[in-house]
Each structure stands twice: as C-alpha cells, then as structure tokens.
Symmetry: C2
C-alpha cells in the first residue's frame, strides 16, 4: 500500500516523532466545534523546515494527504484530516528565532502561540497585536487570516505578517515577502498564503510586525438599553474618527454569562468594551470624546478600568467568552457564526441575527469585533439533538446570506474550513473557480489539506 | 491574419473608439522613462466592463496580446506593448460610481486619476490617501501596488483597496473582496491582483477605502548638515512612536532643484518634509515631540507651514520633484531607482547609494518616503549617451542587490515592469516560478501583458 510505504519512510525520518497510536490519532481527529471526528492515519511532529519539506516530498511521492495542526483551536474544522493522511503537529516548531526591536519585527516558528510570543516580548516594549479569542498558534492564525479585538486599530494577520517561509506541495521551500515595510515586487505571495488554510503550502516560519506598547492605555465598559444604541455608538465613534484600539460588543446574554463565570455585577444589558492607546494626553482626549458619544446615545454605568489588573481582567473575560458560553450549558457544543458587514449595516445585521436565533428557538449569545463590522453568535447546541444542529445551521446560513446581501462577507476571521465551503460561490461567484485554478496549479496532486477552501478537485491516490 | 481579424472584430464593437493611426499608436508606445518605444497594433477606448470583457474575448480567440493603459505615468515600462497587440486606453472609464460616506468607501472606474477622485470627494470630509508623485490612474496604481508620501500613516494600495472587479484572460468578470473591513473567505484575490500589473486580469472597477480629513494638520521642513542626521531622525521618530502622516527626505541636490524651480530659499542641504494629522491637541503634541528629536539630531532652519496654502505648496513641490529634476538638465531622461529597506538599514543604504552614484560619475538626486524605508535616486541621463545609461543601470542593480542583502526589496512602489524582471529571482528565488505557475493557470495563452512580471512563458499566436 502506498500509504504504508509513505508512513514507513516518514518513520525512518522522524523515529518516535511519528505516532500511529489510536490515542494520538483520536486527539488529532477533533475540532473545537460541531464537526464529527476524522482520524488521520498518522501524526508527525517535525522540528525543522527541512523535515517538513522531506515529509511533504514523501506525501507527494505516494499521494498522501497532509494537514498541518497548530493549537487545534480553529472553529471551522480546518485542521481535520477529512481524507485521512498525515497530521503534521507543529507544536515542536515553537521557537522565537529573532526579535528585531529596531525594525519592530519578530521571526518565529509556526507552532508558537500568540500568548507565548507576547510573553517573550515583554521586556522589549513591543507587542504582537493580533488576538483571536483562543491562544492560537501563529501558523494557524496566518493560515486563517485571523484577527481579533485590536484589529480595528492594528489590523489582522493580513497587515501583520511581513514575510513567510512556506513548504510547497512538491517540497520546495520558498520565502515570500521581505523585511521592508512595503514592496511592489510582483504577485503578493504572502497575502496569497495568508488565509489559504494549508491548501497551497505549509507555513514553516513567519516574520511578524510588532507594535510599540502604548505610553497610556485606558479601558472602559458601558451598558446600553438596546443593542441598537450600542451598535450605533460604534458607528458614530468610527465616523468621528476617534481612534479606538479595541471596541467590542457583548449582548445581555453574554453579560449574564460573564457575571456567572467571573463574579462580576454587570447589568444584564448590551455592553461595549472599549480601549484607547496613545499618549497620556491623547488617551484622555479620546476617552472624553467617546464619553460624550456614549452620553448622547443613552449609555449608562460607564466604568473605566484604570489599573492594568482591571484592564487585564476585562479582556481576559472577553477572550474567555466562548468557553464561558459553552460552560453555561453543560455538555453542549457550539456553532459560532462569523459574518462581517459594512459598518453602516451593522445595527441592522445584529438585530436581524438576534431575531433569526429567537425564531429558531435557539440560545445564541452575540458578541463581536464591532469596530470591524464583525460579530459572532455562539449558538449553544445539545450534542445529541440533531434537529437543534439543523436549526443552528439554518441560522448560520441565513446570517451569511444576509451579510452578502449587505455587501459583507460570510467570514470575517474564522475562515472557510468545512463550515463555509457551501457559501463560497455565493460570495465569490466565478472567483471561487479562480481559487480552484490556483490550487490546481500549485498542488496538482491535491495533497495539501484536500477538501478545504476551494471547489472539489480529484483526490490524491492514498486519500480516503 | 488572426491579428487583422481581431482588430476587425474590435472595430465592429467600438467603431471610432478603436484607432490604428500612427499618431495614436506612437502616443501609446512611450513611457516616462528610458525604455525605448514599442508600438501597439491598435489603441482601444472601452467605456464599460462588458466592452473590456468582449475585447479580451476577441484577443483570446485570436491570441492577441492586450495591455491596459492608465495615465501613462509608470516608471518601469509596465504599459508598453513589448509584443504588440491591443493597447487598452482606460481613460474613458473614469467615473466615480458611488461614494459611501458612512462606510468610507468609493467605487470608481480605473481610468479615474487620484487627483480627480480627491476633487470629487472635497465636500464629503473624506479623502483618498495614496499619492504617488504623478497624477496616476487608480487602475494603474492598483496594478503596481502603488504607494506615496502618506503610506507611512495610511498604507499603500494594498491597504486601501477593499474590492476589485476584474476581467480575466477568458473574458469572465469576477468581483474580488467585499465592502466589509476584513474577510477570511478563502484566497485573497484582491491582494493577488494588486501588483500583478495587468498580467492576471484587467481591473475594471475599484472599491477604495477613504479616510476622514483630519481636524488639524501641521507640516514642517527642516534642514540637516548630513544625510545621516536626517535619516537617523526618521528612525528615531518611528521608534518613539510619533505618528507621522508623512515624512519625506530630499537631499541637497533636490533642495537646489526646488529653489531653482519654485523660487524657494531652502538651504542647499538634506531636508526632511513632515506632516502630522490629528486633533488640535494631538498634532501640537506630536509636533513638539518631533521638534525635540530634530533639535537633538542637530536639525536647523525648522519652518512650520501653518496655512493650508503653504502646506499645499510644500507637497506640490515634493510631488513635482521628478519633473523638476528632469527640467534641471534640459533634454535628459530619468532612471529612477526604488529600493525599500528595513528602517534600521536606511541611513546606511542611502549613504551607500550616494557613494555609488558619485563613483559612476552620475547626477542622481535622492529623495524618498523614508518613513517606509523607501527611497529613490533620480539618475539624470543624456538621451544620446549609451554609456551613461549603462552606468546608471549598473547603479540601479547595485542598489537593488544591496537592498536584498539588507532584507529589503528591489522595488518599494514602482513595480516590476520591464526594469526589474532581471532581479526577480534574486528577490524571490523559487517564488518567482510560483508566480509563473499562477500566471500560466489564469492566463494559459499569455495574452495579458505578456513579457512582464513573471518568467518567460510561450507567447500567444499573434504576438510580435
């Protein structure tokens, strides 16, 4: 069997860093959300780019699918080996290779997580800004073009990756990008790889842009009587050009979950969580202007988190929202929607989403990076209830279609994976076929994460 | 002849909007810089996306090269029909289709120039930020991933194009991107098209991001005794996190040219031209902090341009630098270098460039977007002197190779065109072959701007 031959060759290369045990295969068969388990044939732990290249060459030789695995925190099943093959666990490639304070760049391996990087950077006065809820691996974040609470100010992975080292489907190693702030030297292969979810190459090194720790930070929470008032406050703040570092919306259900999980006493109403970064005077001025907008929109219970502990507690709570929501309904699983709409349509989109969820009789707290027009409903599902899942999928589809009708996108930051492929034609039309043509050109055997992102292509020889 | 048949079909479609006259072909055979003329077989003026699609379909049917032409201001020969075929003059597709103040977006046709767009936006309180020296067409700016003096604050075309409508090599029309602030919905086709210089598709519509006119603007000019002091001031300002909207370097030769052209009395020394955008208080604080850095670095003759007329004069002078340099040596032509290096290497790179130019006995004023690490030498050449051109090319190559050795790029903003293809392997290695594979997949006949950006591919049937 070609699969067995491939596994034998990889074993020769990696020794005990290749596992065929049921336990390891099980561990790498599951995602954070509602997708069913899919077993890889083997799990490999490479330590160098050259090893990744050698493994890919073996997979190419025998037509074996190969899928990279970061921290396993993806919400759309990206890292599931739906057609079997090799799961490439990148956790041993987790070094910070270099930090250049002068150029505000860090060179890292893909298995490093965002929190690990920031711990490493603590003494430098710099930080890496992109912060999805989970402590995701930086390779995975690049693969899904991730973003987070600070994207409104500092951008997403699209803006914060200067260069990549990538292993192609035939094992060649290329470097995309440079250390320069910009370039016009041909096709933007860095941007093409970001968001390609392991279907065009396997990222083995990232050059990331860092930002200076602001001189002053000021965070606040405030409550609103209605979802519309909260979201309109966001729209107005953006239009006034007040430079927010973060502006997050949580609805009354999330406030309830937060209170229960964290012992807080937030009013059970829609809230905005915001933060300003800058000089002392600048932050004071921004905060004052924002306060005026909030007052005008009827916001209340305005609380500034002045100490760094209070601020950390606030954002830790926000980042823990997904886990807290799941914990609020024991034994449940989550389906998380992820539309991103033009800011002018945000209030309308959030209100309509709330109505859709209620109409289907579901529990789905809403929160999001509203400064980007991006929001999530965390639909909580009984694992045993197929009808609930069907209703949740109906809601997710409705939200995505409404987002497209408003000029938005089906996914602001979670990516396509398994969950969004069915909507790609609706978003991209013939553009989806163009993506397929690029995939076919760069991975003619379809060994790199087959069955994801692009239209169906013939599967490789050893795929299930 | 297939070419004649193609021209006949296009003529049926466009009538008098297709020209075969020597005069029009001549006008579209030249670039702004040292490349020799290359005659298109015909010049077409489409008015709609559908017409562009129909023309491309005819070209595909007969294997005829097709090259879009914007304002003709490119510096690397991008729009030259080096293999003949149809020159697609986009100047009649110059409408502003829509301005959405709420979403801070403008939808425009590609033949519109950046200045025309900003004139149109004047009453809205918004502006389009990307400002290459020339009054380029927005389609051309997208094609070359252009940037300008404000890129240090507002980004390049990469950051300011939300979506594109593109006609592919087979005439299909696709829309890339959306009106959302971000998306993770598959391959970033918008980014792939930006900087592809008409080799992957012809841009027929752009959705551009706009910015709010700042409440306060403050500009200044200051002189330094040495190039190193000026450039180190830039590095220090960036590291201190002072948020510049513009920071431009001009050397003593440019100061001399400015004085001659504009009747100014700048000291004939290296200068920085800077600008801050923000609130009244913010701009005052930024200006104060910058003034302290300048004082520390020995800068002198600090002059603030307080009135908007003074400011406009300052930036008009800066944008006119290329023309002014050419005019300073009557009858000459220019070869403009365009490296972009990591900011930590900028002083060294500029000093080395100055030495290289002097060593070759050339005149080459230096200026640039130093906040991005991007600078240009405008090498002034006698049209009749082949040896001077050879020396200038040697300098350009040396600068590019040094930039790569420093972790930079061969072109920060001018693009590849004809001038930089020979350096693409040095910058991208196997990545250049990947670009070729993408081109071959999306334009298998190689009719879209053949001979540019990517490695040589077989020419279409009717190419010269």
């Amino acid at each position: 069997m070609p699969l067995d031959a491939a596994i034998a060759e990889i074993e020769t290369l990696l020794g005990t860093r290749l596992s065929l045990t049921q336990a390891e295969r099980d561990l790498h068969s599951r995602s954070e959300t509602y997708f069913g388990p899919t077993l890889p044939d083997a799990v490999a732990w490479p330590e160098t780019s050259e090893e990744v290249s050698a493994i890919v060459k073996i997979c190419a030789k025998y037509g074996v699918p190969i899928v990279a695995w970061g921290a396993g925190t993806s919400l759309e099943g990206h890292a599931l080996t739906t057609h079997g093959g090799i799961c490439l666990n990148m956790s041993r490639m987790n070094r910070v290779i270099e930090v250049s304070a002068e150029d505000m760049l860090a060179v890292v391996q893909p298995g490093l997580t965002r929190e690990e990087l920031n711990t490493e950077l603590r003494a430098t006065g710099l930080f890496f800004s992109v912060d999805p809820g989970a402590n995701a691996s930086l390779g995975g974040m690049a693969g899904t073009r991730a973003s987070g609470t600070t994207t409104v100010r500092y951008g997403s992975m699209r803006d914060n990756v200067a260069a990549l080292e990538v292993v192609l489907a035939d094992g060649r190693i290329i470097c995309t990008g440079s250390r320069a702030a910009k370039s016009a030297a041909g096709y933007d292969l860095t941007a093409l790889m970001l968001g390609s979810e392991g279907t065009l190459g396997i990222i083995t090194e990232l050059t990331l842009r860092l930002h200076g720790q602001p001189e002053a930070i000021s965070s606040a929470v405030c409550a609103f009587d209605t979802l519309e008032a909260a979201v309109e406050t966001v729209q107005m703040t953006i239009q006034m050009g007040i430079p927010m570092a973060r502006i997050e919306f949580v609805d009354e259900e999330i406030a309830r979950v937060f209170n229960k999980m964290n012992g807080t006493t937030m009013p059970e109403k829609p809230h905005l969580l915001i933060e300003f970064h800058g000089s002392n005077d600048g932050v004071a001025e921004d905060s004052k202007r924002f306060g005026e907008v909030v007052a005008e929109m009827g916001g209340a219970d305005f609380q500034w988190a002045t100490s760094s502990e209070d601020r950390n507690r606030l954002w830790k709570m926000r980042h823990g929202a997904y886990t807290a929501c799941l914990a609020s309904r024991p034994g449940c699983m989550g389906l998380v929607t992820d539309v991103c709409v033009p800011i002018s349509r945000l209030a309308e989109a959030v209100a309509a989403a709330r109505a859709d969820i209620e109409a289907e009789g579901l529990i789905g707290p809403i929160l999001g990076h509203v400064g980007d027009g991006n929001f999530h409903a965390i639909v909580l599902l009984d694992r045993e209830n197929a009808d609930e899942l069907a209703r949740a999928k109906r809601v997710a589809k409705k939200l995505a279609e409404r987002s497209l009708a408003m000029g938005g996108t089906i996914t602001g930051e979670h990516g396509v994976g398994l969950g969004k492929r069915g909507l790609m034609t609706a978003e991209h039309g013939e553009g989806w076929q163009v993506m397929g043509a690029i995939k076919a050109a760069l991975d003619p055997q379809n060994i790199l994460n087959p069955g994801k992102v692009v239209p169906d292509l013939p599967l490789p020889e050893s795929a299930k």
